[in-house]
């Protein structure tokens, strides 16, 4: 028999997944407002896609399936004085929606906290069970 997935595996891996999401948000925020010389070269916001890993019905943890680039288009700005400007004097600003990123960041950190809370509760219950009869 395989070692069954414990509550610590479930919440631990969920925390890692949320951390990936938080890192992606941080990358997006850091690159908001950066400028590139072409529409293709402009930074696109990245976002992880989660998928559940089920052990048996009802018992499943989560992992990052892939990281996709969002389709928020880069914004063209006319700025002939910019060193990166092309022949028409245009530059492209990265396609990052900062308010959406902020919302995502808050959501990811709350989800992370929820999993920490679950882990703490599970830990104290396990310790109490160990102490039984003493």
């Amino acid at each position: 028999m395989d070692k069954p997935m414990s509550i610590f595996d479930i919440s631990g891996r969920a925390m890692s997944a949320q951390l990936v999401r938080l890192n992606a948000t941080a990358s997006n925020m850091a690159n908001a407002g950066t400028v590139a010389g072409s529409a293709e070269g402009a930074y696109r916001a990245i976002r992880p896609v989660f998928t559940p890993i089920a052990e048996k019905p009802g018992v499943s943890t989560v992992t990052v399936k892939e990281i996709v680039s969002s389709d928020t288009p880069a914004t063209k700005r006319h700025d002939p004085g910019h060193p990166l400007a092309d022949a028409n004097g245009d530059v492209w600003e990265s396609g990052v929606d900062s308010s959406a990123e902020l919302v995502d960041m808050v959501d990811a950190s709350r989800m992370y906290q929820n999993n920490v809370q679950v882990l703490n509760t599970a830990k104290s219950l396990v310790l109490e069970t160990l102490r039984i009869g003493k």
Binding site: R13, Q18, F50, S60, T61, N114, V118, T121, I132
Partner: protein, 118 residues
């Protein structure tokens, strides 16, 4: 099996089921932002009744009492985990786990006192 039943009564099975339910609720909370995830839970009364019946087993009881949660307000990505519901149930389940644990402890104290003949 029978000795275990005599010693702990309903509480042994109840503790195992509580622990299983805790895992289920933790899975729901872990998948709170997974698109398309359907939250699951067990009907505890039903599971306990099945587990304590004549030929009942824990695995069978879980399978029989398992169901999908009906969301109060469905999300656009098909996820049916509602944080408020899950957290409330998780807290409730943890408290009830502790309750069962203290029943078991009382039982153990009774038996050990009887064994010592105090």
């Amino acid at each position: 099996m029978s000795i275990e039943n005599e010693l702990f009564g309903i509480h042994g099975k109840a503790l195992a089921l509580r622990s299983q339910r805790l895992t289920l609720l933790a899975s729901n909370i872990a998948n709170a932002s997974t698109p398309g995830y359907k939250a699951q839970d067990i009907d505890f009364d039903k599971a306990l009744a099945t587990a304590t019946s004549e030929q009942g087993s824990l695995g069978g009881a879980l399978k029989e009492a398992m169901g999908y949660r009906v969301p109060l307000q469905s999300a656009e990505d098909g996820n049916t985990v509602e944080m408020s519901t899950e957290q409330t149930l998780f807290a409730e389940n943890a408290v009830k786990y502790r309750t069962t644990l203290s029943f078991l402890e009382g039982r153990l104290n009774t038996i050990s006192r009887a064994l010592r003949g105090e």
